[in-house]
């Protein structure tokens, strides 16, 4: 059954696993750069689910949603990296990761 035809369920499960991996990255890693990469993984997981649903259900709207998500993700990364650079400048330290009051 599992190795039969590829269904929508396969894609949704794949996106769910990707989401969990991203979530683990956000919650467990201390390095801010990697936390931000994990956020990208989260949004990509959602994108994969959107595209798959659109294809199997015949909904073109989901691709518009993916378009917006990609835009938002790019803006978020640009802003996040700018804040990191600003922190680097103020603290004059390369150890961006060792910020005491940054536990979640």
């Amino acid at each position: 059954m599992i190795l039969g035809e590829i269904t929508l369920g396969h894609y949704l499960a794949l996106s769910g696993f990707l989401f969990v991996i991203g979530l683990a990255g956000v919650l467990l890693r201390r390095s801010l750069l990697i936390v931000m990469m994990s956020l990208e993984l989260l949004l990509n997981a959602a994108n994969l689910a959107l595209v798959a649903v659109g294809r199997f259900q015949g909904l073109p709207d989901t691709q518009v949603a993916v378009f917006f998500v990609i835009t938002v993700a790019a803006a978020e990364v640009a802003l996040g990296l700018a804040i990191l650079v600003a922190i680097f400048r103020v603290k004059k330290t390369t150890a961006v990761d060792s910020m005491a009051n940054l536990r979640f």
Partner: protein, 166 residues
């Protein structure tokens, strides 16, 4: 053919994603992320979303990843020291992983259309730039404008945060 493509790309994507969150050196993580995003673009192609696949490669693998690597180089971030995982967190990861592995396939199977199959070439064609564009500029026009404002804010923000005052 569909099966081979899906399973190989899915394995690649999940492996790359796991590597992103496990590797200690941010440069390797970033490279793995690029790899994962390219796998995802290929998955978009198997879903016949060709335009989005192109956007994925250009925006993510192109712009976003270059930004990441640029900042990593600029800040000269070293590999993170390996710290032992606290006992409670380790248990949390184990339990969460078990729940995910058992629960996600079941949940995915519970969606109304989740057993639907669709061979390549069947079904409505949705992914062309023309179709996407006409939706974007008619039904979703206000949201398109709002994302424009969002990008403006992000641009102003980056300038404000990183400008050096003379």
């Amino acid at each position: 053919m569909e099966q081979i493509a899906f399973w190989s790309l899915a394995t690649g994507l999940l492996t790359a994603a796991t590597a992103v969150i496990l590797l200690r050196n941010p440069v390797s993580s970033a490279v793995c992320l690029v790899l994962g995003l390219v796998f995802q673009a290929a998955l978009f192609v198997t879903l016949e979303a060709n335009f989005l696949a192109a956007v994925q490669v250009i925006v993510y693998a192109g712009a976003v990843m270059v930004l990441f690597l640029f900042v990593i180089m600029l800040l000269d971030v070293k590999a993170e020291a390996r710290s032992p995982l606290p006992w409670a967190k380790g248990a949390g990861v184990a339990v969460g992983g078990m729940v995910a592995v058992l629960g996600i396939p079941r949940l995915a199977a519970s969606f109304p259309a989740s057993h639907k199959t669709l061979a390549w070439g069947e079904g409505k064609s949705l992914g062309s730039a023309q179709e996407l564009g006409s939706l974007l500029f008619t039904s979703y026009a206000p949201l398109f404008l709002a994302t424009g404002v969002l990008l403006l804010v992000a641009t102003v923000g980056v300038v404000v945060l990183c400008r050096r005052d003379s």
